[in-house]
Symmetry: D2
């Protein structure tokens, strides 16, 4: 700390002010050692960094806000919108996948965003997603006010190979399928079959996937596989390049004005509700993953 | 996974459904190995866990939303409100301290909330704070709409002793003082002194704390130490027990109705804008810290 | 990398040498990125750093080398000697405690040795202990050659408070007591009581500490508490300052030669076999621990 | 802890023994909470785990033990022997590479040895290597006794892809080349050129690889590339399968005795001093690495 030498202190109380201020600056440098307690949590290089968010107490939240069962279009759309906001604000998310009240964001393996610091990555994702969720709420829930600010927790997981990453996403999509199938039968039994939730639960105890489809088909004439892909497959957000054509009027010297078409390629987020367990999606979008 | 044995498949396409469903369940268990890539980030026991949030790009954010300089009462109140919301939702925060666009949350050293998992703790704090910030925006910024969802990043730091923790909080409060003093002079020079921001910056180059107070006092007749404590000391939120007296009407058998006063002690958050570097605050609130 | 410009290459094959050498240097810098995969494992400041070593497969090792049961004086002395060697070579170990085939080394909470890097600390302790164990083997096992190089594994544990550290050491000493008591009765039953190891095991099943002492006392007239402290309490190594008096002959000018006594205080390791669970030991050696 | 109820205490002092013993057992369980301070340091799955050891103060050690400069055959052979001992004792090391006073051990990416716990892996390697180094010393340094037990420090680094791992090994081999070339010229200037070590250092300042080869060739008629591969390339240890033919005498019933050849394939360590930067070595030994 620099101390101005020879300063004239005309008034006692100002001298005290000065002494006090210097004291605080000195104090600050004295306290600054506490920074050395921070730890480095850099993510291992050349690994995909996945940040997965989960809604906290969303079972209760969904009831309090009158979510349609088993799938609420508004809530799913709001989740997608918030996820898109994360992708736009945070660099280097190459793919995001969401279902139910969870969303996974995959940072590309070569990312150096925030120096790959795990805490920065996950808190920024959690924060941006949460503030977006509240911010855009009204656009989707036009007649249902938000009663209180919800919360999402997050975690970071690293995947060293493309195979591991794809298996991670497959795991989440398989989970989506299993839960959605269960929920579809369960709420059909309740809403159309007139069972209580306890009875529906009882009915489904011990059934395997095939049994559930059978119940839907033979009792309610519902072909599970004809249900919307959005419900069965979840939402996959990726970056696409889109050609954007704009028309400009130009007037060269000594010529009459005319229209010119300007084509720009621009990155934009696209949403897919298809299978990502098989190879087709990845073959159609070879730029998402980097080679091992 | 259980496979129902001997099931009769009357229709081919349903058999396919069944096979497909089983396949997905099998796939899920096949993919589940990816869970083993998650790492344990349990915080060392018997240490204070500090989660500090910082606004992302808040310089720009404050300009876009017309924050009053050097201190915007509305913004500071909204920060406090959001911090209070974090304390109410998340157990075991024993003290929180905020200034400018940052807020630190101290979990008590014996907390077992979320099994002391660093990622859960920091993402929940970041998420709850962010969603609250957007949720309560309108209460404080009545004439200024929120233009986009803001973001806060967070980190976790552990402090093993009471001394270390108090030094951490002192560091942040000393930082508050130094920044606020600079900002007060800087904006006074601009707003009252008619200097441009570049000129004000130039003028303050190389000055120490005492010089800044002198400028305020001799040129603008402002005694820095008489500035609101809120600006100079930041905000400290703690839990207090309050006695709550409610009046109930009771009518015992064979007696006439009468009023009864019921006293309950209830935990509630109180906000302080005092010095927390010295001992007085800690002596007056001996329950905040636990013995080493 | 610098490339010498304009070098004259008189002979083709030397040109190749040069090219090759440059190539390797270039290659090295090309490969050096792999260093960025190293992670920081700095131990949290202001915590005691404990490195505990355990012998690998020492049950088998002790049988192959004819260790006396239940306690082999030579092996215990060799363990102490190796531990002393660790303390002399590695700075800032303030106390070490050993029993059976394990030894714990406590680095003082303020140590900055190896920048508090956990990997450096534990590998150095493991390495120095192991090489010392082999190096000094012959001094203690004069008639029993070492058949193969043994191995010890290690781990690092941090303790934030003096209470936690003392509880750690108490835990190890209580473990020493419990194991030694069991082993003493077990081998007495085998060696003096003529039981097979299976019979001895059977006999002790379900007995508590008091029962074991009773067996020793009533059947073999052994008072467990009169057994050597070394066995019951393990070994605690600390630094002590010792006054060392040396005699020097000096001959001042114009005087006759005479002897002078030079007193130097020197740090040296002392070994204790006393209780370290209670307060007495710590009160008698107040310099071992630093204040919280 | 079980307390035997109704035990008959014939003698006062034995009752005290009993009470004391119970006390210690109780104490142990009371202290056991300290185990919860241990942290999980499991290595990320599907990554190669490299443990690299470095000699501590080996410059001084090599002088005190009269190592031949620039390369001591005995020391290098002892390093290889110790490394081989590590490979034999510790499962799942797929390749080890050593040069000078360092050795790297690569655990295969799928290893589950010691549950992939970093601390266990590195301390075991450091310990086994160090005890082997002392144990086998006399076999290589027949006329030079070991003066004191040496120490090696270790670290763990993870590599997610085959490319990264090969680049790591290439980095170490390029380092070997650069250091060995420097040392070869340096010691030639000193030993054959009659320069002091300071003069030799001065002479080499600013030279590039090509210059060094030129000095060797034109002044001492030494073709660096004809120097032993061991020095220039270091030592690579891998597992090979060897066919082992043993001859047994068998005597079938009612037949005369005859000899039978029994062929067994057995894993054994082989040592290579070849280039491992290029592809050839890896193509010739496709089993070392696992697919990404």
């Amino acid at each position: 700390m620099l101390l101005r030498v020879g300063c004239v202190c005309k008034k006692g109380h100002r001298f005290l002010l000065r002494a006090f201020s210097c004291g605080v600056a000195m104090a600050k440098s004295k306290f600054e050692y506490v920074r050395s307690f921070e730890t480095d949590d850099t993510c291992l290089r050349n690994c995909y960094i996945v940040v997965r968010l989960d809604g906290r107490n969303f079972h209760k939240f969904s009831e309090q806000h009158g979510f349609v069962k088993p799938n609420d279009e508004r809530a799913l759309a709001l989740m997608r919108r918030s996820a898109g906001c994360v992708m736009e604000q945070l660099d280097d998310v190459c793919v995001a996948y969401g279902q139910s009240d969870e969303f996974s964001f995959v940072f590309k393996r070569s990312t150096n965003w925030f120096k790959r610091r795990a805490s920065k990555l996950m808190t920024h994702v959690a924060s941006q997603f949460s503030s977006s969720f509240v911010f855009f709420w009204g656009e989707y829930f036009t007649h249902q006010p938000l009663l209180y600010p919800p919360s999402f927790d997050g975690r970071v997981v690293l995947y060293p190979s493309n195979r591991n990453l794809r298996d991670y996403l497959s795991w989440r999509q398989a989970d989506c399928h299993i839960n959605n199938q269960y929920n579809t039968v369960f709420w059909t039994l309740v809403q159309k079959g007139g069972l209580s939730t306890t009875q529906a639960e009882e009915r489904l105890k011990g059934t395997v996937a095939a049994d559930k489809n059978e119940i839907l088909f033979s009792e309610f004439n519902i072909n599970y596989n004809a249900e919307p892909q959005l419900y069965r497959k979840g939402s996959t957000l990726i970056w696409d390049t889109a050609e954007e054509v704009t028309t400009k009027k130009v007037k060269p010297a000594n010529q009459s004005e005319r229209e010119v078409h300007v084509t720009r390629t621009r990155k934009k987020i696209t949403t897919h509700h298809c299978d990502i367990i098989g190879s087709q999606f990845w073959e159609e979008h070879p730029d998402i993953l980097e080679s091992d």
